[in-house]
């Protein structure tokens, strides 16, 4: 047994030696000088992107590879279109159904023929400046997301590109007066838009939109306060992210811009949906409401039905009831 073991060991040793001799020249030929160098997949797994040094002046081009654009593409082409489509078409559908069932919210007591100042010229100017900018920003923005599948096949490549080019300029430049408008709205109406107990009562009673109730409200009811905060917070978000995209690389790199675009577009489509509801209630949704932002004067009965506490406050300021405040005197206040 012992001799068999010795023979086996000898044979094994000889084989091993032979292998080493044979392998040695082969491995000498195949020395991999870059064996320790970085590998693509390993880098992508570790860092999610590959970055290095470049000798050209554009240091941003040092990012070699960042496959996250794939997820952003999925968001931009699929997710965003769903969010936007559902939000905007959904809102339109709800409003159409609401209008057909509830109809216009009428003045229950009819018109008194006497008016009271609701918004001054400055307030109306700020409102309409922001509103006009918003409409153009919304259309030009929706064009970027929905134009290619919806409008491009109808007008052709050249015409669509021409229109989109102007829409983009409008989008970029009108962002400035829009931002100014949002800031002014924030400062101008903040006093009347802090939520309080009256709002809880107003919401509990359905705001008078559902049913025919007229819950008391101050200058701005809970619904209007909601619109105010949507404009201030939503407007602030779209402005901040929009400027980030307008000035590439000033704040963040590409991945930051992808996130900025996601926030910008999601907030924007929800903003558009909310503003459609705002336009509805301010026009065909409620009798006498448009006058507030139109001429600035609302009917006393409208004020009594929709903003009773505000009317009481105004009357207390301007004296006895038999001397209703007239536009001229109230505006001078």
């Amino acid at each position: 047994m012992a001799s068999f073991g010795r023979v086996f060991r000898l044979a094994f040793g000889a084989c091993a030696l032979l292998l080493v001799i044979m392998a040695a020249p082969a491995s000498a030929q195949q020395v991999n000088p870059t064996a320790s160098s970085v590998k693509e997949q390993q880098l992508l797994q570790e860092l999610d992107r590959i970055q290095g040094r470049v000798s050209i002046p554009d240091q941003r081009s040092g990012v070699l590879e960042q496959p996250q654009g794939r997820e952003w593409r999925e968001f931009r082409n699929v997710t965003l279109r769903w969010i936007g489509g559902v939000a905007i078409i959904g809102m339109l559908a709800v409003l159409v159904i609401f209008y057909l069932t509830r109809g216009m919210v009428r003045l229950d007591s009819g018109r008194s023929g006497r008016t009271i100042v609701r918004f001054t010229l400055v307030e109306r100017f700020v409102h309409w400046m922001t509103a006009i900018c918003f409409i153009i920003l919304a259309i030009s923005g929706l064009n970027i997301t929905f134009g290619r599948p919806l409008l491009l096949p109808l007008v052709g490549l050249e015409a669509f590109s021409e229109w989109s080019q102007w829409a983009k300029y409008a989008h970029n430049y009108l962002s400035f007066p829009f931002t100014v408008g949002v800031v002014l709205i924030f400062l101008m109406w903040i006093a009347g838009n802090i939520p309080n107990k009256v709002d809880v009562e107003w919401i509990k009673r359905g705001g008078g939109i559902v049913g025919h109730d007229h819950p008391p409200a101050q200058r701005f009811n809970a619904g209007q306060k909601m619109i105010y905060w949507i404009v201030v917070i939503g407007g602030g978000l779209v402005a901040a992210t929009g400027y980030e995209l307008m000035f590439p690389f000033y704040v963040t790199g590409i991945e930051g811009m992808q996130i900025a675009q996601i926030v910008h577009s999601v907030v924007a489509v929800l903003f558009v949906a909310a503003m459609i509801a705002h336009v509805y209630i301010g026009t065909i949704g409620m009798e006498g409401a448009f006058e507030a932002m139109g001429s600035g004067d609302v009917d006393l009965n409208w004020a009594r039905e929709h903003h009773s506490l505000w009317l009481d406050e105004q009357r207390a300021r301007t004296g006895p009831n038999d001397k209703e405040p007239q536009p001229a005197t109230a505006a001078a206040e």
Partner: protein, 198 residues
């Protein structure tokens, strides 16, 4: 028809930047734009590696998918090109591109970026092949003359390969077999959803 691709054999790239210079000169690329660049990872440290990168002319290109005005098109050779007449300079392709290929002549000028510029695989644009108009907008159209992209043609170590994807993959595979190692085709998995097994 061939399916044109780029392949950088990163084991051979010596960061000479000849491809970068050749490209700039051949197409008279404006200041501030580099259609091709060489990136050195771990520069000066153990494990350093240089890779030359430009537009990879992706399969199912993300730039083309996200473009709001549909200004991109893929040629019969699989080259991804765009029309500067249709481009509105919105920047979306540059958010989507994994390789940082799209660039703009103006940066941060109130969003007026100008028309996007990127590697054309030396294949010009939608204008007539070899026309002055095409040259001014996109640079030389070497492909129409039966030549390959200049960056790869004049690569000093033949690290950068351009041509039909199957042929350059075969050349690369042979190299890997002969020398016994290879770091894979950089960017191929992202651009073409395939790698070259070595």
């Amino acid at each position: 028809m061939a399916r044109m691709k780029f392949l950088c054999d990163a084991d051979r790239c010596i960061e000479c930047n000849a491809c970068v210079t050749a490209c700039k000169n051949e197409h008279e690329v404006p200041w501030g734009i580099n259609r091709r660049r060489v990136v050195t990872i771990n520069d000066g440290k153990p494990g350093e590696r240089s890779v030359t990168m430009a537009c990879m002319h992706c399969t199912d290109a993300p730039c083309a998918a996200v473009c709001p005005v549909n200004c991109f098109y893929t040629t019969a050779d699989g080259v991804v090109l765009h029309s500067k007449d249709l481009c509105i300079g919105c920047g979306y392709c540059f958010y989507a591109c994994p390789f940082g290929a799209p660039q703009y002549p103006k940066v941060g000028n109130f969003g007026s970026r100008g028309k996007m510029d990127k590697c054309t695989y030396c294949a010009g644009g939608p204008e007539a092949d070899g026309s002055q108009e095409e040259y001014e907008k996109y640079g030389a159209n070497r492909l129409a003359e039966g030549k390959l992209p200049l960056c790869a043609e004049m690569c000093s170590t033949k690290s950068l390969l351009a041509g039909d994807g199957e042929i350059i993959a075969k050349i690369y595979r042979e190299r890997v077999m002969t020398r016994g190692y290879g770091s894979g085709a950089w960017g191929w998995k992202t651009a073409y959803r395939e790698t070259i097994e070595s």
